[in-house]
Each structure stands twice: as structure tokens, then as C-alpha cells.
Amino acid sequence: MRKIIRGALTAVLAGLVLLSLAAQVFHKPEGNHRASWWESAPGFFALFGFIGCLFLIAVALGLGRAFLRKSGRYYDDD
């Protein structure tokens, strides 16, 4: 059951991304004017979301490992 739901969800989301890509390719922007190349490049936002998310995780976990995260109670006054 879980597998079916997961598969269906993946299919729907993948379909959504493909649909959005198609919309970007075949539809000229209406109304809101585009100021820069990246806003009109198809798939830019997909790439940005994916790489941005990995980047944020890497930065946060990197900083956490380097010096931000302390195990247990750190401050005496807590």
C-alpha cells in the first residue's frame, strides 16, 4: 500500500514538473514582466530548488559539525 501511494505521488509530482516545463517553453509570460535571463530560462527554478536545497543542507550541516552543534547541555545557565 505504502509503495503504491509513494509511486503515485512520485508520478504526480514528476508530471507536475514536466507540465510546468512545458508551460514555460510554450507560453510567453503574460503580465508580470521578466527582468532577467534566468527567469525565462525553462527549468531554471527546478535546478535552483534542487541545488539550493542541497546547498542549504550542506552549509547548515557543515557549520553544525564545525562548531555550532554541541551535544548535551552547553550553557551553565540553561
Partner: protein, 576 residues
């Protein structure tokens, strides 16, 4: 003039705080909601441009001044006070109820204040009353965090007051609140700093993720709504177009999401996302364009709704399981499906998913940056949006309601909590589906269409691929118990040393001096108590007695005679 008809909305809530303790214990919680609704009604019936001027000393105080901006903030503040009251309807804690009414009233008062004096008084009422919502948790952690919280706000209030005095001395004593031109004066900078403390502008933000997770379950709902958003209102009122706010805001959006990835406490994650979301509003104000200010205002409105709902859901989890950390939670989806559903409405809202209210306001702010030619700011805010969906939309629910089933048996929650959450969630959805309902209240005319096809396509790509990246990294994001250091390290870490130096050492020196003085006094007393006994020996503790210790007459006569003889002999020798 119709001035006698103008009642400041804060009056309804402050009157409530006075009357509440006099009512029967059982009806106090219900009365709380009624007083908040009365405040909401007052906000609605005040006509545009209404003002209430009151002479005070040699000044004229403007207790109430209504325009589109203050009305919008007033509506949402009063509404969320009522919703929070509904969420806390089961509570029997008069102290918390009165504090929350004072706090919400202060927020409304500051929103409608037309002069800096009234504004400052309301500002300080908020600081004091909100501290009680932290302390009301009645444990050591909350007590300590509450002290750090109030210290921070006293600092902010002090800066604000200093700026106000300086300003008044410059412009002939006028205290009227007006927008400052960017970089206007040192006084304006001081006021900006004071307001920035309450807006949790990085690096002045640490009071927020420190205190909010430790507040009471119901108190945190109020805290999440008022302090930061009143500050956003003040920024929009006084500092539109200050370039520094654009970059401060962008920094906040990213700072909050990075820390939220590391945080373990569920309300801690939400607290860092207040910093992040307020960053969008601060950046919108910094843009200073009509669209930027509209975006900031709309986002403040949406944010108060979904953030309160997030805190309500997280509070419900805390109350029913007694656990607050992701590392101790998991598998609650089976036992709390309704809470999960309501939480996800808020989570989709904050993440900017279409059909939810965050989408119609956040995207307006981000687009405003693009319209103003601020490409870098726009991209960085988009990156922060990715982080928001990652932590609040994916990580938090994944590790609370799904993931490992820890066999938790949550208690039943009172019906009113669900009702309050349902009410708030329905407004989130309503505004998401019909943006016009919110847009028509905004201070400037709106020409923005969030549901443009291109925009929908971009949002779909951004969110779905964020989900994909999360799915790949989900093992890495396993929560860890422990402490995550923030910039409060710079004063909390040396605090022990400074306390040692200025309190413990000083105390020890004082004690030591006292002890030495006492010892000296005791020694002197020992010498003078009975000098005869010192000379003759005997019981050292014996008390002087005229009969036992006074020398005999013959001894004295002998001594006198001997001295006299010696003197005589000496004189004779000397004279010769």
C-alpha cells in the same frame, strides 16, 4: 469633530485585563475571547482618518490614528488574539490571560499610536506582559530564558527612548510619528536599532529562539504573533526605503533557515522560521516601493495566521506527548491525523504552496525585489523559500508524524484547541484561494497576479525539486539532541566568568572583609575584657570583677612609691 467617538481598540483589551480577574473563574477564558472580539469590532468601525488627540503636559498625544496600514495590522492583531484565546479556552490561569490581553492590547496600541510617546508606552507594556507568558511555564529553563528575554527588550526599549528624546530635542519637541528619510539622523538610527531588536533583525534576534520554545503552550501562540510583527509595522511606518533593511532582511531569511536545519526543538525550528519570514517583510520595507510595502504588509498578515497555526499544532504535540524535540518524537501520524492535516495547511502556507496564503504574500515580496531590479536579493529570498519548505514543510512533519514510530500514546486534547486551529486554517485557505480578500485592505493599489501561469510553473518546479533533494538527504537530516550555538554565545559564554568576577569575587571580598573586621573586633574585645587577667594569668574567659580582679591598695601604693623614688633620684642626678 467626531473625536469623542474614537475609542482606541487597545482600550477594549486593556479594560479586559482589568475586568478579567473580577469575573468568575469559569468564564474568564470565554471573556478573553469576547474582549478580543470587541477590539476587532473597534478596529472595523473606526473610520479612515479618525484620530484621537489628548493634551498631555505641554504635548498633544495621538492615542489613535487610523489609516490603511494601521487598520490592516489592527485587524490581524485583534483576530489572532481572539483565535489564541479560543485555543486557550480550557486554561485556568488568570495571570497568563491578563498578560496576554495586556500584550495584545499593547500591540494594538502601538499600531494605532500617532506619536512616539504613546508608541513607546505600548511598546514597553508589550515587553513586560510578554515576559510573563515565558515565565508562566514555571520552570527553571523558562525563568532563565525569560530574564534574558526581558533584558534584551529593555535594551531595545532604552535605545528607542534615547532616539525619541534626541528626536524631540531636534525638531522642537514634536513627537508625531512620521516616515524618516533614509539615513535621516542619528536619532532615527537609534529608533531603528530599538525597533530592530523587536523585529529580531540578525544579530539582535537571539531572544526569540531562546524564549519562544520555552514559553507556555498557549503563550507561544501569542508571542509568535505580536512582538515581531508590531516591529514590522513600525519599520513600514517609519523606515520605508532604508536600503540597510533590504539586506538585513535578506540576511534574516537565510540565517533563519540555516539554523532551522540544525534545531531539534520543534518550536525552536518554528522560532527560527519567524526570523526567516520576518526577513521577507523587513526586505520588503527596505525596498520601499509600493509593491514592496504591500508585500511586507500582506506577508505580515499571512504570516501571523500560519505561524500561529504552526505554534498551535506544535504546542498541541507538546501538551499531549510532553515531548518537544524532534529526536524524541515520531510516528504520531496514526494517532493525530487531524493535527497533521492542520499543521500541513500552515506548513504549505509558510512554504508558499499555491492555494495557501503564504503563496499570495511571499511571492509578492519576492517579485517586488525583481520589479525594483534587485536580482541578487530576489535570488537569495528564493533560496530562503527553498529552506522554509525544507524545514517546516518537510523535515518537521517527517520526523514528528512519520519516521520512526516511538510508540507514543498522546493524551486527548481539548476540543477548543482543534476549533481554534480549524478557524485559523480556514482563513489561511480562504486567502490562498481568494487573494483579493486580503489585497483589498493593502495600503497601496495592487496590480499583482500571483496565479499567473508562469509563476505557478516556477513555484511547482522549485517545491517539487526541493522535495526531491530532501528525499535524497533525509538520512543526513536525522535530528540530534543538544545545543546549537547562536550569537548569544558571545554573552552567555562569558557570563559565567563575568558573574564570577563581578558577583562572586566581589561577594567573597565583601564577606572576607566583614569576617576580618569581626575577628579584629573580637581580638580587641578579648584584650580589653579583663586586662588584669592578661597580666596575671588565670582563666582567660573570666569576666572582670571589681572584687576579684582589682589590685590591692598596698600594691598600688608600692608602685606609686617606687615610681616617685625613681623620679626623685633621676631629678637629683639631672640637676647636679
Amino acid at each position: 469633530m467626531m473625536t469623542d467617538l474614537v475609542i482606541p481598540p487597545a482600550a477594549a483589551l486593556w479594560a479586559g485585563a482589568l475586568i478579567l480577574p473580577l469575573l468568575s473563574r469559569r468564564v474568564r477564558a470565554a471573556a478573553f475571547v469576547l474582549f478580543s472580539l470587541a477590539g476587532l469590532a473597534l478596529v472595523f468601525i473606526l473610520p479612515d482618518g479618525a484620530r484621537l488627540d489628548v493634551p498631555f503636559l505641554d504635548q498633544t498625544l495621538t492615542l489613535c490614528r487610523v489609516d490603511a496600514l494601521s487598520r490592516l495590522f489592527g485587524i490581524i492583531f485583534a483576530f489572532i488574539a481572539a483565535a489564541g484565546g479560543l485555543y486557550a479556552l480550557h486554561l485556568r490561569d488568570t495571570g497568563q490571560q491578563c498578560a496576554a490581553l495586556l500584550y495584545a492590547g499593547g500591540s494594538l496600541g502601538a499600531t494605532f499610536a500617532g506619536d512616539f510617546f504613546t508608541f513607546f508606552v505600548c511598546w514597553e507594556v508589550m515587553a513586560a506582559a510578554s515576559t510573563f507568558l515565558v515565565w508562566a511555564a514555571r520552570n527553571r529553563e523558562a525563568r532563565r530564558a525569560g530574564f534574558r528575554y526581558i533584558l534584551y527588550h529593555l535594551l531595545g526599549g532604552g535605545l528607542l527612548l534615547l532616539g525619541i528624546f534626541w528626536l524631540a530635542s531636534q525638531n522642537g519637541g514634536s513627537l508625531e510619528i512620521v516616515a524618516f528619510a533614509p539615513g535621516a539622523s542619528a536619532a532615527a538610527w537609534l529608533i531603528l536599532l530599538g525597533v530592530a531588536v523587536n523585529a529580531a533583525v540578525v544579530p539582535l534576534h537571539t531572544w526569540l529562539p531562546d524564549a519562544y520554545p520555552r514559553a507556555t503552550v498557549t503563550g507561544a501562540v501569542f508571542l509568535s504573533a505580536f512582538t515581531t510583527k508590531t516591529a514590522v509595522y513600525a519599520l513600514a511606518r517609519m523606515f520605508p526605503g532604508w536600503e540597510v533593511l533590504l539586506w538585513a532582511g535578506v540576511a534574516m531569511t537565510l540565517y533563519g533557515v540555516v539554523y532551522a536545519v540544525l534545531a531539534d526543538d520543534i518550536r525552536g525550528i518554528l522560532s527560527y522560521h519567524i526570523v526567516s519570514q520576518v526577513g521577507f517583510m523587513v526586505a520588503g520595507v527596505g525596498l520601499g516601493t509600493e509593491m514592496g510595502l504591500n508585500g511586507a504588509t500582506a506577508h505580515a498578515f499571512s504570516h501571523i495566521l500560519y505561524k500561529a497555526l504552526l505554534f498551535m499544532a506544535a504546542g498541541l504535540v507538546l501538551q499531549t506527548t510532553g515531548r518537544r524535540n524532534l529526536s524524541e518524537l515520531g510516528g504520531l501520524g496514526r494517532s493525530q491525523p487531524a493535527v497533521l492535516a492542520l499543521y500541513m495547511i500552515a506548513a504549505f502556507s509558510i512554504s508558499g504552496v499555491p492555494l495557501f496564503n503564504g503563496f499570495i504574500s511571499k511571492s509578492m515580496t519576492v517579485s517586488a525585489a525583481g520589479e525594483a531590479g534587485r536580482q541578487a536579493a530576489m535570488l537569495l529570498m528564493l533560496l530562503a523559500s527553498v529552506g522554509t519548505f525544507l524545514s517546516v514543510g518537510l523535515k518537521l512533519p517527517a520526523f514528528t508524524w512519520f519516521s520512526r514510530d516511538r510508540g507514543l500514546k498522546p493524551e486527548r486534547a481539548p476540543w477548543n484547541m482543534y476549533l481554534a486551529m480549524g478557524l485559523t486554517a480556514s482563513v489561511c485557505l480562504l486567502h490562498g484561494v481568494k487573494p483579493g480578500l486580503l489585497y483589498r485592505w493593502l495600503p497601496y493599489p495592487v496590480e499583482y497576479h500571483p496565479y499567473a501561469r508562469v509563476h505557478l510553473a516556477e513555484t511547482a518546479q522549485l517545491l517539487v525539486l526541493t522535495l526531491a533533494a530532501f528525499w535524497l538527504c533525509r538520512r543526513l537530516l536525522e535530528p540530534h539532541a543538544g545545543t546549537v550555538l547562536d550569537v548569544d554565545w558571545f554573552f552567555r559564554r562569558p557570563a559565567g566568568f563575568l558573574r564570577e568576577l563581578f558577583v562572586e569575587t566581589t561577594g567573597k571580598f565583601f564577606d572576607g572583609t566583614g569576617r576580618a573586621a569581626m575577628a579584629a573586633a573580637r581580638a580587641l574585645a578579648f584584650l580589653s575584657r579583663n586586662p588584669y587577667r592578661l597580666a596575671r594569668g588565670g582563666d582567660p574567659e573570666s569576666v572582670y570583677s571589681q572584687d576579684r580582679h582589682r589590685p590591692l591598695t598596698r600594691t598600688l601604693v608600692t608602685i606609686l612609691l617606687a615610681v616617685f623614688s625613681l623620679l626623685a633620684v633621676f631629678t637629683l642626678i639631672a640637676v647636679r
